[in-house]
C-alpha cells in the first residue's frame, strides 16, 4: 500500500466519522457573493439567485419557460381600458422566521405596498436605505407606467397604469418585484438598524434564510409551510466558489452537486463523465452585428442585406462559441413563445453579396469601422476574435473593415450616440417578454431610442411594437410579433449572430432541476438521490 493510499484511508475515516448528519443537503457552488439580499437594489444574477430561495413574487415564471403563472397573487383582472390591474392575493401564506425575527401575521396587501412603495415613494422610510437606487424599477419604465398602487382590502391590490401595457405582468415576475416582509422592515426600523433589512431576506419563499458568511457560504432551510409544497431538500447551501476550475473540481469530488457557468473548455470532459449530467439550453440573449442605418451606404437595406450574407456565422459559432452557441436568425431566442420559425435565415453567400453591393452602387473597396466590445458578455465570448473573423470575410467582398474599440462605458455611450458605422453588441432578456427584445429597435416619435444601436426606424415596426404592448391575448400578440420578425429580417438593421447556449453541470444523483431560460437558478423541486 502506497503512502498516499494510507493517508487517504486515514482522511476518509476521519470524514466518515463526521458525516452522521441525516438532513438532506443540496450544495450549489455559486459563482459569487450577493451585493445584498434585496433584489430591488440589485442588478446582478448572482445577487438575485441568492435571495430567490427565500422570496416570492406576485407572479412567477413557470419553471423552464418564460410563461407566467400565479404566484403570491392567485389571480388578476385587467380592466377593459387596460389601465387598471387588480391582483387577488393568496391567503394563509406564512413568512419564514429567522434569527431575531418571528413573524406574527400572514402575508397580505401591506407587504405588497411596502415592497413597491420602497422603490417609488420617497416618503417610504426605506426609500433611501441601501443607496436608494432601483435600477430595474427604472429600466422597466415603471416610474412612467405605474401611477399608483392601491390597497382595496387585505387581499386585493390595484395597480393603476398611465397607459395600457400588458408587459407589466412579466415585470411582476422579475426579481426586483419580490415581496419582502413589511413587519420585518418595521421591526428593523424600530431597532434602529434598517440596513439589516437588506442583509436578511425575509419572505414567503420555499426556503428560509438562516445565515450568510461573506464570500463563503449562504445557508437556507426548507420552509415547512410553503404554500406551493415543501421542497424535497432540508437544507440548501450556496458554497461561494468564484473560480470555474474550482467549481468543477468540487463537483467531481461531490463537495457540491450542481454548478453554474462551467468553462466551455471543460465541457467535453464533463459530458463524458459517467457521474455527471450536463443540461443545456439556449440563453435568453442575442449577440448581433448592427449597421448604422443613418450613415451611407448603410441607409440602403440592400447593402445591409449584402453584408449579412458576406459573413460566415457558422464558422463564428463553431470557432468562438466552441459549441456553446446557436446561430440566430431572429432577434429573440427560440425558447420564447413569440419566436417566428418561418423566417428564412440569410445564407452565407459571398458571391451574391458582392453582386448586391455592386447593384446598390457601392464602390469597392469600401472602408468601414467595425467596433468590437472590450468585454466578454454571455452573448459574445470574444468580440475581438469575432471582429477579426468578420474582417476576413468582409475583405473577400471588397469591404475593408477597421477594428475599433473603446473602454466599455465609452463604447456604450458612443454607440448610443450613433458614432459607429458597424458594431457588435447584444442583449440579455430580463423577463421573457418579447417586448423586452423588440424595444431595442424602437423609435418613439420617429427618433431612434437610446438602446437602438442600429438607429434604424421603421414606422410599421414601431406601431406594431406599441400595439402589441396593449393586447392581453397572447395569440393575438404573437401574430404581431411574427410580422415584426419578418420586417426586421427583410430590412436587416442588424445581422443576428448567435444566442449563447447555457450549460448546467450537475451530479447524476440530482433530480428535478429545470433550467430557466431567464438564467436564474432555482432549487424548489430539486432532490438528491
Amino acid at each position: 500500500m502506497t503512502l498516499h493510499r494510507v493517508l487517504g484511508l486515514g482522511v476518509a475515516t476521519l470524514l466518515l466519522c463526521g458525516t452522521a448528519a441525516s438532513a438532506k443537503t443540496l450544495v450549489y457552488c455559486a459563482e459569487g457573493s450577493p451585493e445584498n439580499f434585496t433584489p430591488a437594489l440589485n442588478t446582478t444574477g448572482t445577487s438575485f439567485d441568492a435571495a430567490r430561495p427565500a422570496l416570492d413574487r406576485l407572479i412567477e415564471f413557470k419553471p423552464g419557460t418564460t410563461d407566467i403563472r400565479p404566484g403570491l397573487a392567485e389571480s388578476w383582472d385587467i380592466a377593459p381600458d387596460g389601465k387598471t390591474i387588480t391582483f387577488h392575493l393568496r391567503k394563509g401564506v406564512k413568512f419564514g422566521a429567522t434569527k431575531g425575527f418571528k413573524p406574527t401575521r400572514d402575508f397580505n396587501a401591506d407587504d405588497v405596498l411596502f415592497s413597491f412603495g420602497r422603490q417609488y415613494d420617497p416618503a417610504n422610510p426605506y426609500n433611501k436605505i441601501g443607496g436608494g437606487k432601483y435600477d430595474y424599477y427604472n429600466d422597466m419604465d415603471l416610474p412612467k407606467l405605474l401611477t399608483s398602487i392601491e390597497k382595496k382590502d387585505d387581499y386585493t391590490v390595484v395597480f393603476h397604469l398611465s397607459e395600457p401595457n400588458v408587459t407589466i405582468l412579466a415585470d411582476m415576475a422579475m426579481d426586483f418585484a419580490a415581496i419582502q416582509s413589511k413587519e420585518f422592515a418595521d421591526a428593523m426600523l424600530k431597532a434602529g438598524t434598517p440596513e439589516q433589512f437588506d442583509q436578511v431576506p425575509v419572505g414567503t419563499g420555499p426556503f428560509i434564510f438562516s445565515s450568510y458568511q461573506k464570500d463563503a457560504v449562504i445557508r437556507f432551510k426548507a420552509n415547512p409551510n410553503y404554500w406551493n409544497g415543501r421542497p424535497p431538500m432540508d437544507e440548501l447551501v450556496f458554497a461561494i466558489t468564484p473560480d470555474p476550475t474550482a467549481r468543477y473540481s468540487k463537483l467531481k469530488t461531490n463537495e457540491c452537486q450542481i454548478i453554474p457557468y462551467p468553462r466551455p473548455a471543460d465541457l467535453p470532459e464533463m459530458q463524458k463523465d459517467p457521474e455527471l449530467t450536463v443540461q443545456s439550453q439556449p440563453g435568453l440573449n442575442i449577440g448581433y452585428y448592427s449597421f448604422n442605418a443613418t450613415k451611407p451606404p448603410f441607409d440602403k437595406k440592400e447593402v445591409r442585406q449584402a453584408l449579412s450574407m458576406a459573413i460566415d456565422r457558422g464558422a463564428i459559432v463553431k470557432d468562438v462559441y466552441l459549441g456553446a452557441g446557436q446561430q440566430a436568425k431572429n432577434l429573440i431566442p427560440p425558447t420564447m413563445w413569440a419566436y417566428n420559425d418561418a423566417v428564412k435565415d440569410y445564407p452565407f453567400d459571398p458571391a451574391k453579396a458582392k453582386e448586391m453591393l455592386a447593384a446598390a452602387g457601392v464602390k469597392t473597396p469600401l472602408d468601414v469601422d467595425l467596433w468590437y466590445m472590450p468585454v466578454q458578455r454571455p452573448y459574445n465570448p470574444d468580440s475581438k476574435r469575432i471582429g477579426e473573423m468578420m474582417q476576413a470575410d468582409l475583405a473577400k467582398v471588397g469591404v475593408n473593415a477597421h477594428l475599433v474599440s473603446y473602454e466599455w462605458g465609452e463604447y456604450r455611450k458612443r454607440l448610443s450616440a450613433g458614432e459607429d458605422t458597424t458594431a457588435q453588441y447584444g442583449w440579455t432578456g430580463d423577463n421573457g417578454d418579447p417586448d423586452n427584445f423588440f424595444f431595442l429597435l424602437s423609435c418613439p416619435d420617429g427618433k431612434p431610442a437610446q438602446n437602438n444601436a442600429t438607429k434604424w426606424c421603421d414606422a410599421t415596426f414601431d406601431a406594431d411594437l406599441v400595439k402589441a404592448r396593449q393586447i392581453a391575448d397572447q395569440a393575438e400578440r404573437k401574430k404581431i410579433y411574427d410580422e415584426m420578425q419578418v420586417i426586421q429580417h427583410d430590412n436587416a438593421p442588424m445581422l443576428t449572430l448567435a444566442h449563447s447556449v447555457v450549460f448546467m453541470p450537475m451530479r447524476k444523483t440530482v433530480t428535478g432541476y429545470t433550467m430557466s431560460p431567464l438564467g436564474t437558478h432555482e432549487f424548489d423541486h430539486v432532490d438528491v438521490k
Binding site: 498516499h4 493517508l7 487517504g8 482522511v11 476518509a12 476521519l14 466519522c17 463526521g18 458525516t19 448528519a21 443537503t25 450544495v27 459569487g32 457573493s33 451585493e35 445584498n36 437594489l41 442588478t43 436608494g132 437606487k133 435600477d135 427604472n138 429600466d139 440596513e195 437588506d198 438562516s210 445565515s211 458568511q213 461573506k214 464570500d215 463563503a216 457560504v217 445557508r219 437544507e235 447551501v237 458554497a239 461561494i240 466558489t241 468564484p242 473560480d243 476550475t245 474550482a246 473540481s249 468540487k250 469530488t253 463537495e255 458578455r377 473602454e407 466599455w408 462605458g409 465609452e410 456604450r412 455611450k413 448610443s416 453588441y425 447584444g426 442583449w427 440579455t428 437610446q450 438602446n451
Partner: protein
Amino acid sequence: MIRFFAKRLLLTIPTFIALIFLVFVAIRLVPGDPVEVRVGEHGIDPARLAMLRHQLGLDLPLWRQFLDYLWQLAHGDFGRSLSTSNPVLGEFLTLFPATLELSVAAMTLAVVIGIPIGVVAAVKRGSVFDQGLMGLSVAGYSMPIFWWGLLLIMLVAERWGLAPVSGRLDFIRFDYDTPTGFMLIDSLLSGEDGAFLDALHHLMLPAIVLGTVPLAVIARMTRSSMLEVLSEDYVRTARAKGLSPFRVVGLHALRNALIPVVTVIGLSIGVLLAGAVLTETIFSWPGIGKWLIDAISRRDYPSLQGGIILISALVILVNLAVDLVYGIINPRILHGR
C-alpha cells in the same frame, strides 16, 4: 535609540500620504466609470446617470474628491462600498481575518521548513542534497502560483482525495458562529467535534501554495547567510574548542545567520499579501484578495482605495517593525550611518 525610532516613524507619515495620493489617482486613471459598469447594456437616461454620479460625489473635480477623501480618512471613515453600500472598513475587517490566518499559516510553514532546509544545505554544501534542495527552491521561487494551486487541487484534492478542493470549512457538517473570523480559533470555540481538524484540513493546500515562494526565499537566504557565518573566525574557534557540531551550527552560527533572514521574512509580508490575491481566488478563500478583485471589476472606488490603503499601511508598519527589531538585534545600525 529613541531618535532613530522617531525618525523612522516620521518618515512613515509622508510615505503614507504619498501612497494614498497614488492609489487615489491610479484608480481613477483606469478607464471605466462605476456608474456605467453598474448599468450594463440596459442603458440609462443621462439625467439619471448625472443624478447617480452626483449622489456618489463623482461629479466633483478630482482635487475636491481627494481632499474630501483625506478629510474622511482623518476621521477614520473609509466610505461605503459602491456595490454593497456597506462601510468599507467593516467589510475589510470581516474578511481580513481569513487573509491573515492564511498568511500566518503560509509564513509559519515557510519558516519552519525553510530555515532547516537552508541550514542543512549550508552544512552539506556542494553535496547532492544541497544541490537538490537548492534546485527545488529555484523551482519553488519561480512557480506561478496559479498553476501550482491548480496542480495541487487536481492531484491532492481531486485525484487522491487528501484535501478539500476549496473553502474554509465543510459547510454540510458544520454550522457555527465565527466571532473572531479565524477559522482555527472559532472551530475550537464552537466545541464541535472534528471542526478544528476540518478547518486545518481546509487550510492545508492554500497555505502550501501561498507559502511556497517565501519558503524558497527563506531557504536560500538561510543557506547563503549560514555559509558566510560558518567561515567566520568565531565559528572556527568554536569548532577548535571541540564543541559538538550541533552546538556550533545551532547556537553559534544560526543565531547570527538569522539576522538577514528576519529582514527577508519582513519583506516577504508584502509578497505574501500579493500572492494571497491569487491563492484566495483559486481556493475560493473568502479574504481580502478576492474582495479586491471584485472591487476592481466593479470599479468600486471606495472599497478599492480603502483595501489597498489598509493593506499597504500594514506592509509599511511591518517593515517599520522589522527595521526596529533589526536595530535592536544589530545596534551598529542605530549609531552608524
